[in-house]
Symmetry: D2
Subunit: 335 residues, 4 copies
């Protein structure tokens, strides 16, 4: 039974707690959060089986833990990751590990020395649809891969205050798609080109960000990927991908609340996609937890490593440069 402590008891921390609760081989025994109120504590205390701490240092010192989930704000990730690794814990760290490539490298070094499992919260790698697409590629259904296309649109704009601290669209939103490109293509990216603008809300431009973008990545053998992002899709959370290759193509589409189709004078109408990422990707968090625990037990390997985190952040940084300087960026410039 793997004993898990969680740093950060907010929304994503609670999601992971719930996911872990469904596993037979792991349980959450501690949560470190300075700002959690009593009501929330009571709700997730699991009849007193979970202990609460004011700081991650205290939790790491006093709780009997095998593994730590880092679910704190991004700005705290590096500190929390380092401390947890030093405390000899297996670590699951929410994405992005850091906006800073050197910091990620430093953690990578600590991970190598620790011999413990370090896994990164690229949860879409565990989504049943993206896994089905990856399986289709791996099983040869599309043959040699020529092109990958990913569409990712949010149901609505987050508050400007959130956007200001988010690291920007590439780091905050497209990071998932950039990681998925690497995961699905599984080759070395060579160059990247980004176009984008604040088309949904001009206010976003004022804080130095964009809300709509198209990014093209060229890989070492000229396989190519294109990602389109938009912060607003009136019809809900839009998550699609398509791989085209020598034998054909494979695509995945949106999940819907039901299969209902209504035909009337206005046309033939099916439901909008699931509106929110938690509904759409809930199952992925459970699969992710299974992979983490299995890796700790030596029965599997993490499907999202610190190296994967580095590579995704590298692409996000390169995309930001491309957009700013209106030019193609070779990834060798940054690495």
């Amino acid at each position: 039974m793997i004993k898990v402590g969680i740093i950060g008891g907010g929304r994503i921390g609670q999601i992971h707690a719930k996911a872990i609760s469904k596993l037979e081989g792991a349980k959450v025994v501690a949560i470190a959060d300075a700002f959690m109120n009593d009501e929330t504590k009571m709700k997730i205390a699991n009849n007193g089986n979970i202990k609460f701490f004011k700081s991650h240092e205290e939790m790491l010192e006093k709780a009997d833990l095998d593994a730590v989930y880092i679910c704190s704000p991004t700005s705290e990730h590096v500190k929390h990751a380092k401390d947890s690794i030093k405390a000899k814990k297996h670590v699951f760290c929410e994405k992005p590990v850091s906006f800073n490539l050197d910091e990620i490298k430093a953690i990578n070094k600590l991970v190598d020395e620790s011999g413990k499992v370090f896994m990164v919260g690229h949860n879409r790698r565990f989504d049943h649809n993206f896994m089905a697409l990856k399986d289709a590629i791996k099983s040869g259904k599309v043959g040699d891969v020529y092109q990958l296309k990913i569409s990712s649109r949010d149901p609505g704009l987050p508050p400007i205050q959130y956007i200001e601290k988010s690291g920007g669209l590439f780091m905050d939103m497209m990071i998932h798609d950039l990681d998925m490109s690497l995961n699905l293509i599984n080759k070395k990216p060579i160059s990247i080109y980004a176009t984008g603008a604040a088309l949904v809300n001009p206010e976003i431009k004022k804080v130095g960000d964009i809300d709509t973008a198209i990014v093209t990545i060229t890989f070492e053998d000229n396989t190519m990927a294109v990602i389109d992002n938009c912060r607003l899709a009136k019809y809900g959370y839009d998550q699609r991908a398509e791989v085209h290759g020598s034998l054909g193509s494979a695509q995945i589409g949106n999940e819907k609340p039901s299969t209902l189709i209504v035909s009337n004078e206005n046309g033939v109408t099916s439901e909008k996609p699931l509106h929110f990422f938690l509904e759409r990707y809930m199952k992925s968090y459970e699969n992710e937890a299974v992979n983490f625990i299995d890796s700790i037990n030596g029965n599997d390997k993490p499907k999202a490593t610190i190296t994967d985190a580095y590579n995704a952040v590298l692409l996000a940084k390169a995309a930001a440069i491309s957009l700013k300087e209106k030019r193609v960026v070779n990834l060798s410039e940054l690495d």
Copy 2:
């Protein structure tokens, strides 16, 4: 916190135990099953919180229960239902309550006298797709209902031994569709006509049953419903329905493991439907448990009553007569 005892610890009993475990306001505290082995007990004992009994009598006597789930073989339902009602418990009884209409009437009388909740396991009423279809009707999206069509096909034949004791296709398989017809049309059925045969496997004819059928029901205002059943669909569990009315039509289709679509030389291929009823309808068992517990707490009413059970069995019986006598059967003949 509603304390639940389960009579019958087999597959369906365990499904309900799992569904109840997800609720905050209820917990399983006892299971009565004469044949449960220790391994199974251990697996579902929930750290000793569930007690096991050899008989339902013992459980009803010794365990502190608010409600009972009857998950025993159909032949035991009536006895278990009566004993549970007499023991002043709220009762959830798996379908079919009985093959015998008089027995169901007798239970109905006991239920009326007891003042307790009695709910029947017509789980499809709690399926998100069928609920979406019902909502579409109730909200007026199809206008006045003219026709209902239900397709229900199993992924494969059960063993002949199972079929022999099943009560026949109408009672064992179509019962869900007959109930759903009543639920969706919500009017008094007048007559029924059934055609059917053992087309999948002639052995089924030898035990007096069929594996393929089409049944038409005419309701009091001439609204009409048609159900087609087949015990074999090579592509998986096929569950569809369509309602047509004055403003248009509404239909629901199959659930699939993923949204993957592969296009190649053979065509454009999506996945087969979910293969098994447990995968397809798992969520319905949770919704069903919520409705039962809410009804006990006075916050809702059971969506599947003993009267619903009676009406579905009545239609199944009438369909069997129609098939045997190759004629239309007026339901007034039986009622």
Copy 3:
């Protein structure tokens, strides 16, 4: 070059004229119609290549014809068919040939004696979708056929005056689906059951007809077919069919004006089906003409014969009796 004369220059006659004009091996040289105005004549005269006659007798006598298309009102079909056969012409007769089974038998006898081609306008047999479904069956894709389901809904009610003379829903509308059942199942029908009512417009009941129906046909080996019809579908002309068998199922759906799909706050909406039978089935008239001309030239056989006409009318009559007498009708009662 097959020279064709057309009896009846109304809508359906003009459709056939247009279909024939696309063939290389045939041309329309004469049209007999007592009521055609000069404007219409001019429009379809094809630069004077088509001659117009006031009566079919005159056309049969004076025009140099190889074949005749009978596109007159149903009540005239028998007379026009007989006269054309006697004049030693190949004959294409619109459906229904007659509401009277004996009359059809009489024509059948004349056809046998004439040695000429006699083909009936069951145009759906030539529709690319229904042909694809038939090919799927013939090529073994569904294995042994268990069930056939046909849905056929009109976009709107015809005028009551039309309905009064139409022969009733079974003869006027369902006749196509009854014929298609025979065509796709290709076995001997044994019994039929119909339920139906005037649900769209009660006025239709007053003239002795219905607007909504479900009909079940049982074939000699217990293969079963079910047809649902409705005179009103607010979303357009609905034409679907599905065959289920031992290896799986095959279905065909509606044709749409375009593949446009709009996703917005209201859902994900595709276009309504093509609204009118002429749009939906236009191509079938061309394929039909090809089959007729090829048959005349000895290169093919008619895909819709006088026997097919007889069998479809027989089913329509049996369905009407079933509805009226509220009972299953054995086809041996009529034949």
Copy 4:
């Protein structure tokens, strides 16, 4: 009645002849082609109504023509266009008018002076699906347009010899998609970026071309378009587009031979898209001819002008530079 002469009696010339033959207000009266054999002539002579000439000069001199269709090889387009304009004819010229921007400008000047209609064969503008997409945009269904995505894949590679003379993928294949981007976005393009390679067949690289590409266009207000092309799609001719905007998205998909769907052990399979551009876009040639003739008669304006031709070729040229120099190209560099 507009009298049309066609320069070039090959495949595309015959397609236009056929399209014109369906119009009431126009007819083909002459074809100029030095290499047409007698058999082909006979086949399309329309009973002697079409006269054949050895050269376009002879046809322009001797035939009584209102309009000329230029369907000769691309290298002849400019000469044939100039001669036809000088002969005071309305001109329809197949795309691309020329690979040379100055030549197109020169023709543009002649057109302005002539006062005659000059239309370019961007047939996809007349496709019912692309028109439905454009209508969706124009009618405000997607709100402000943020992104356009076009997928265009050929069913198979043309011969290397064809590719060598084709002008390259951007000029030969993507030209349609570039034009469609301009047509749908209807704003001034600012910059373009292309990535591409010979992934299907390395031989194509040897002749200086590619077979797979992704191109991003940024427009004046930062609206963005992305086009993906591949010369090989094993599942047939793939033609899709999607527009995303402030109110939602609109997309169009592939046309199929039938609506057949087969469900079996392998999944749920629909047909491959129509395999060849002639099947897919046949209707567009008719709509195009209608627009041309209506423009000649003053009842409409050409939907694809010499300016449209110029802009599409400009984008194709810029894309080629971008690919070669691995950089973003500002269109102001070329114009």
